[in-house]
Symmetry: C2
Subunit: 411 residues, 2 copies
């Protein structure tokens, strides 16, 4: 049975432990929600101040050239490529995950003319399903979203499927799809494969090109620590870049945006997936988070995330076994990302009580308590301490208070 | 003939002059490009630091509720409404101008089933034309962009036109469309009217509802001083809000985003036009710029912008008449926004020479020197001094140097 001293020993031996000092985390908080909003890197504030005061305030419009603003999507995207097994020219940072999904699903349909089905799974992150539904409603002509449960999904990839859209690590359960095998199955049926990496990038060792993935999107504000509502990213495998079109043909995706001609002509490469003017403040903050990640080996990140998750499961089951929490994540770390969920009918109130005591996870309707183990700034003793606080909340039924049941706008 | 002393007297009597102190403009610069990238308000840096250090760093995920992040698009949009003659619930701040155009043009087509033409003018800001071209290519089925020159445009609004898309103040020439008359002409033909306010909002007294406009989009980083690549905004007249759909059905536009259900259902009102997670850093900076604007009467802003433009035209023609600059903007201020352009075959090099001397305007291909007169921080003596520097550049042919002809990435 693991003890707190064992946890301290693990922290002392952890090669990633020094990264904790790179983040500005408040005293008295154990932050287990970095998979929803990543913590603040210490370097972000000063970097943003420099962007604001010098690049914007002092150099003004000239910074599009002199500060490299115009290249920020490609530059930050190129860095993110290093975290997801892509080549720098295959990734760009732009817009939201939702908008990027729209672009790439529409693009996938154009690459597979005649095929009308977009295949996903029920319970996928809602925006993925909503965006596909919206695209299908817009296009009509039989284009449709089809959802098939995970265990039947691969068998459902038939000759009408243009693209399979899956989130590699499930936002609720942390279940991780085997990227290589599913991609191969999609290809075997002539379909394209689009991965949503929102809960993967920065947490597990994603390797898009080794899996032969076609398309991907992902989020900047979770494990990449880009800040609230940070720009997202998208990936288009080099082999598709010349043929795929974006439906969102804004001027930044034009071959020559500053020629100011009337006719759209797509930029070469992944740049055609840009739409409006790049959000420089957001990209600058995102770049700080990405730069930090690039200093940590991906394999070490993934290994630590899994060990933290294993430890959490072990301790919750050993020390909170009385409370009726049900593991909602795969027990085997190989099939899991870097967060772990338990289900309980009182989950909402339990999470509010935990948050009030400084253990910040989140709740996902209807009954999921979700805990993210961000390998860059969560330690083994943090897990121990969080479970002890959880045990106290459960033992004392501290969650059984009216004010913990009051639902706030964002859960 | 106006003298510099006259200009100083105008500045002394200018009720908007105190706003200059609210901006952090560098010494030695006369900034006449606020219509491309607005200057830095002094309050923006401290506000962003608070958002980063306290809301993100200290309060973390809780700030979605406690700091009102989740309401930021509606809150900032509601404030922008006050600058464009809309009601607060008709405007939201989101995404880029380009993405918002895509949403609203697609929405307009759904409100006018059977009509397939989107009418605009050649030489409209490129992203407007590109986005419509992209949407038409995506939809097929005869949907098309038709461009008709300004003087024939109203007559071309026929029974196949679903929506007329025009930029109220032209990005190159500053020419201003008569919003009320054109909107009425669109309605007379059964079409909807969508205004791009990118060069209007914050510079002229836009009054969408008095003009009976249906839809509008606009930019946050020009006269609104929201920072480079700031979030944009969109307007949907209340009467259309229940019927119009967005094609970009991301989770933030869902009726209940945190229910995490699989089926998309549109939020009521303008919120259904949201797509991904709101970009909090960008919205926070934008809000500072908008708050500043709300303290200045719109009519005073517009009047000053016109007087600055008139003065610039008078002085350039009187003092630089030898150089062959041709006025490319309407001479009558009533038909103009807050920027003035002159054409010259050597315009690119002239603008580079001016910028090197601290007078920052911009160049728009093929031959336009463009000067923006942001009424909040440009004064009458600034105009005098800028023209004197221009005169010197022209008299000495200072622009006739190789390094001023070297084209940079962003012009």
């Amino acid at each position: 049975m693991t003890t707190r001293d064992d946890c301290l020993a693990l922290d002392a031996a952890d090669p990633l432990a020094p990264f904790r000092a790179e983040f500005d985390l408040p005293e008295g908080v154990i932050y287990l929600d970095g998979n929803s909003l990543g913590a603040l890197p210490r370097a972000t504030g000063p970097r943003l101040q420099a962007v604001v005061a010098q690049e914007w305030g002092r150099d003004l419009i000239r910074s599009w050239n002199t500060a490299g603003w115009i290249d920020a999507p490609a530059r930050v995207g190129g860095k993110i490529a290093g975290l997801v097994g892509a080549r720098p020219h295959e990734v760009t940072a732009a817009d939201s995950t939702s908008a990027n999904l729209f672009k790439l699903v529409a693009g996938a349909l154009s690459l597979r003319p005649g095929r009308r089905t977009i295949l996903s799974e029920p319970g996928n992150f809602p925006t993925d399903l909503y965006v596909i539904q919206g695209l299908a409603a817009l296009l009509g002509q039989g284009v449709r979203l089809k959802t098939v449960p995970a265990d039947e999904l691969v068998a459902a990839i038939d000759e009408d499927v243009a693209v399979v859209v899956l989130t590699e690590v499930h936002y609720k359960t942390g279940r991780r799809w085997p990227m290589k095998a599913v991609t191969a199955a999609a290809h075997a049926a002539g379909a394209l494969m689009l991965w949503d990496l929102s809960h993967s990038a920065g947490a597990v060792a994603v390797d898009l090109n080794s899996a032969d993935a076609d398309l991907a999107v992902g989020c900047g504000y979770k494990y990449l620590n880009g800040g609230p509502g940070a720009p997202a990213f998208l990936f288009v495998a080099e082999r598709h870049q010349a043929a795929i079109r974006s439906p969102l043909t804004g001027w930044m995706g034009h071959a020559d945006p500053f020629a100011f001609v009337d006719a759209y002509a797509p930029a070469p490469g992944v740049r055609r997936q840009l739409c409006g003017t790049p959000p420089i403040l957001g990209l600058s903050a995102l770049e700080v988070g990405v730069d930090l990640h690039l200093r940590a080996p991906l394999a070490a990140l993934e290994a630590k995330g899994k060990r933290l998750g294993d430890l959490f499961i072990e301790l919750v089951e050993a020390r909170c076994g009385f409370a009726g929490l049900t593991l909602a994540s795969p027990r085997d770390a190989a099939g899991r990302g870097s967060h772990v969920s338990f289900a309980h009918a009182d989950g909402y109130a339990m999470m509010q009580a935990l948050i009030a005591r400084g253990v910040i996870g989140d709740f996902r309707a209807p009954d999921i308590l979700r805990f993210g183990f961000t390998p860059l700034y969560v330690g083994y003793a943090d897990v121990w301490d969080a479970v002890e606080i959880l045990r106290d909340v459960l033992e004392t039924r501290a969650y059984d208070q009216e004010d913990y049941r009051r639902v706030s706008a964002v859960t």
